[in-house]
Symmetry: C2
Amino acid sequence: MKPKSVLSELKEKERQARRAMIIDAAELEFAEKSFDKVSMRTIAKRAGVSPAIIYQHFPDQQTLFVETFRKGTNQVFEKMFSTITESEDGGLDEIVSIYVDYFTHHDQYFRMMMNFFLGGAVDPGLFEKLSVIEREILDHLDLIFRKMKIEGNVRDHSHALFAALTGIVATFRNHPAKNTEQVIQHRHKIARHLASLFKKA
Amino acid sequence: MKPKSVLSELKEKERQARRAMIIDAAELEFAEKSFDKVSMRTIAKRAGVSPAIIYQHFPDQQTLFVETFRKGTNQVFEKMFSTITESEDGGLDEIVSIYVDYFTHHDQYFRMMMNFFLGGAVDPGLFEKLSVIEREILDHLDLIFRKMKIEGNVRDHSHALFAALTGIVATFRNHPAKNTEQVIQHRHKIARHLASLFKKA
DNA sequence: TGTACATCAGTGAACGCGCGTTCACTGATGTAC
DNA sequence: TGTACATCAGTGAACGCGCGTTCACTGATGTAC
């Protein structure tokens, strides 16, 4: 390997490190404040760089947000996937529990997801990235129902389950008279209830 | 009745008419553009008044939006309620169909609802107004399941159904490769599927 | 080794914009005498 | 009936702000001779 390529390799690593720093900063911002309050300026400030630097790594704000979402949710989806794959019966109860737990304790990612769903015109390239995630999720949910040997269209079950889980987190939220503990208990309760409906089918 | 009170009554009617005009304008704005694009200025312009006038009728933007939501969704909720009340068996299938139809063709109200759910700190008075609507809906869904004579906690069923319906509209949305007709067909399909799960329970 | 130049990551101020809300003002109408 | 004043709905410009993004510039490092 020529010295030149070693140097350029280091440069590239430096670049990747900086890119990671920006995403990390964005994650922290989203964890701390509501979606609307997160701006390129505040992310740059937290990452300790100039706002202009972000645009060397991401063409625009939307791309940065999608990448942040991907990094933030990657682990929980992987966990769901391995739970399904390794389980004998599909592990429906555990899946709904993981989903509700994760998105209750990381509401920022749920709000980002809702923003992508509701936000209207996303760039086609980004839309495709998000669609890939959604398809992966649905494919794995299919697996649950195949292991459960349900009759009828498996994909309809998956769509219904994904929609229902998403609806639960969207619908039951903080309330002046309820604390987070009560919210999570309620979500779990309704999620278990829904899971039982799927099992009876 | 004294002339004075006749006059003041007319003034009051004029005031109510203007208030209605503002809400009408807001409805039209929401129907035409995405949530973020609707501003006090554009509403005022459409209503043919100065922006400042809006503040004589509504203390702030959020209040105007909530009132617009109430006016826009009042009819469909009433329709759902009367369908449930008048039906022999609760009319579950019809209810999910009405819900999906309405919020597909009036996506603006669905987006407003999601905004209220996800938007964080709403003024307590407004929050209560929205809570009243939600409770009314849940109370009526209870009635469906009572008519269906399901066993177990009726309210859990209602919560699950409301969450699932909301999730369906939130999750399956316009897609570069799908037109509105395909979206509505898919939503109806999944909604019917869900309804069938509730019936088997 | 020393010098002139090129490169390029990085900066922070600035651009251009749109927002919610308010303010000073207008002008029509009502009221008191 | 006429006049002076008060009231008040209504106006549109302005305030103050924050946003995404870009631009002119800096300064450290690499390169050529």
